[in-house]
Amino acid sequence: MTQSTTTVTPEQQLDLYRYMLLDRIVEDTMTKLFRQNKIVGGLYSSLGQEAISVGTTYALEKRDWIAPMIRNIGGLLVKGVHPRDIFTQHMARYTSPTLGKDGTSHFGDLKNLHIVSPISMLGDLIPVMTGVAMAGRYLGQNIVALTWIGDGGTSTGAFHEGLNLAAQQRAPLLLVIENNQWAYSTPVSRQVPIEHLADRAKAYGCRAFIVDGNDVEAVYTTSREAVRLCRAGEGPIVLEAKTMRMLGHAQHDPAEYVPKEMFDYWKRRDPIDSYEKRLTAAGVLTAKKKAEILNGINAVVQEDLAFAESSPFPPPELADTAIYHEGPLPIEPQWQRPVAEVRPPRSSVKSEWRVSGNGEIKTSDGNSDAGVGARHAVPLPSATGDAEGNGAKRSASKRPAKSAARSRGRK
């Protein structure tokens, strides 16, 4: 059964709507908790950015992996995290996934949900998720690794090292650049001298898309195409989603440095309001359906909130436990290809590089010309795992279908 790249079924539409609403209600609930002094540390909001976390993660399958940033609570919810885990994390309770050892969205789940925990240093997740993608390919799992980075984080060294390695490995990594216009108090234009952050992908020889980050369907369908490309061996894919951070860096920050008209502009483009209007006009979302969705969300959120509020803080003795792991690993390699393929003699190769064209200087039109700005064709890996192949044996050589979104990068 083939599906057009832009088709979204009514069930999927309602799912996308429900997850965005769940995300917002969970975060609104935490804002109240923050004002009641029940959040131990800072509180970071994804208000106005819900469509990106939800739309990208919704394009994944259960076997795929994500690594969220602090504003990707929507992604956690789509992946199957319960609101109670998000509440208990922020409230530093013993019942939280990290037992109170870390807060916010800094938690993961190797075994069931396939979530890698972030750290506060931005960019570091990109090499880590490149490794997840490489390991998944090695084990024959055909998984996709998804992570996000902000506009500010695209200037870190780890971003560039990670994306370059991912590109060199042709790793099935989907890297979403969440361009919310502000890195703490500094606008994008004062961080980088380029208009589209997706253009950074060009330098690494990987494909990029740009999408309206406030249009959840556009985010979802573009991500779905990106995921398809990754699975076909055409990764990594960079997806820049343009949006706006509608609050300060965190609760302490009133964001007075943001021009008022900018907030006004983006307030009119709220991803949930606009999608609600659209689904209502299309007859997909009725008043009855909306009430049903809201009631469902509120019931879960209230139950989980009560659980979190009644949860104890961790016992102090927990502080000096579990620094090193003793015992078996929680996750053993799940081989989904014949292990004999990676064992000698089948793994054995001739140890030599093959360099095509002797490094001859070329421009893209084939003329020998060492002129400045000469474009260099990015070599694709061969199908034999040779020197340029990086073991990307299952990479498909056929070019992907043109996406609904604008395709940037390698042409």
Partner: protein, 324 residues
């Protein structure tokens, strides 16, 4: 039994572990076709192929990060840093991501970072360092620093099988200079256990890596003067074998710590504190240290010689201590 260099011992460990467990992969710069800057990984690509011996761009952060991600799916990556000095380039990835992963969210990181380290080969300030204490100071990391081919092989096997991140320092001065009888069959050396290299009753020399050999030479000199020094080779810096240190000090009542790392914040200070806290009454003399100078590692041979602890420095300090 065959005479084997430290380099060959490490290579054998990698080879045998990759043979034993398909979850073991190697990743680093120039480790495949070239076989590594020191040729430790020579032959691995030919046998195990492109998917298991991964040549990367010059990207220490990406190497460590990718290895960490691989370990989350149950693989056991072994990273090579071309020289341990370059570990500074991936400090964040190691100390904040890898080291804290298990403590914070319960995700063990079974990976090894192996790297040539140490001076005495005129490598200059960026190819000679001993940065072990940055990492011994970071909860969650293990730090191994062998001095013999036998230990290097056995500890590398233990490091690969360990379910925690292990930094494996390979003293490049020792790579080809020291030979050992290495048994044919399978063996491992446990992480976190020191070894008594020479028994003695008059004082204890606690040391590791290249300085273990300097200390053995010093002990031989001292023996001519009737001073019997016990030489304790730590082999692992983190976790530190406190029991063996304290047991030896309780026997000899005198302690000299010798290391090639610089002095301030070196492991000698930590060991001295442990002994003061736990065996003060057993001491007949102050704890002494022989270490490198608190400077960068200088390039020119006379400067590097002055920087590094020399045999005579150890002998003089030990003699003074024995007569205290």
């Amino acid at each position: 039994m065959a005479q084997t260099t430290m380099l060959e011992g490490i290579r054998q460990a990698l080879f045998e572990e990759m043979e034993r467990d398909p979850a073991v992969v190697c990743i680093g710069e120039d480790i495949g076709v070239y076989g590594g800057a020191f040729k430790v990984t020579a032959g691995l690509l030919e046998r195990f192929g492109w998917e298991r011996v991964i040549d990367t761009p010059i990207s220490e952060t990406a190497i460590i990060g990718a290895a960490c991600g691989m370990s989350y799916l149950g693989l056991r990556p072994v990273c090579e840093l071309q020289f341990v000095d370059f570990i500074a380039c991936c400090f964040n990835q190691l100390t904040n991501f890898v080291a804290k992963s298990f403590y914070l969210w319960g995700a063990p990181v079974p990976m090894v970072v192996r790297a040539p380290s140490g001076g005495g080969v005129h490598g200059g300030p960026f190819h000679s360092q001993n940065p072990e204490m940055y990492f011994a100071h970071t909860p969650g990391l293990k730090v191994v620093y062998p001095s013999t081919p036998y230990d290097a092989k056995g500890l590398m096997k233990s490091a690969i099988r360990d379910n925690n991140p292990v930094l494996f320092f390979e003293h490049k001065f020792l790579y080809r200079r020291i030979k050992d009888e290495i048994p044919e069959g399978e063996y491992t050396v446990p992480i976190g256990k020191a070894a008594i290299r020479r028994e003695g009753r008059d004082l204890t020399l606690v040391t590791y890596a290249a300085m273990a050999h300097t200390c053995m030479d010093a002990a031989a000199e001292l023996a001519k003067e009737g001073i019997e020094a016990e030489v304790l080779d730590l082999r692992t810096i983190q976790p530190l074998d406190k029991d063996s240190i304290l047991a030896s000090v309780k026997k000899t009542n005198r302690l000299l710590v010798v290391h090639e790392d610089t002095r301030f914040g070196g492991v000698a200070g930590e060991i001295a504190a442990i002994v003061f806290e736990n065996a003060f009454d057993d001491l007949d003399a102050p704890v002494r240290r022989v270490t490198s100078l608190d400077t960068p590692v200088p390039y020119s041979p006379p400067l590097e010689e002055r920087f590094l602890p020399q045999l005579k420095d150890v002998v003089v300090a030990a003699r003074e201590l024995a007569r205290y």
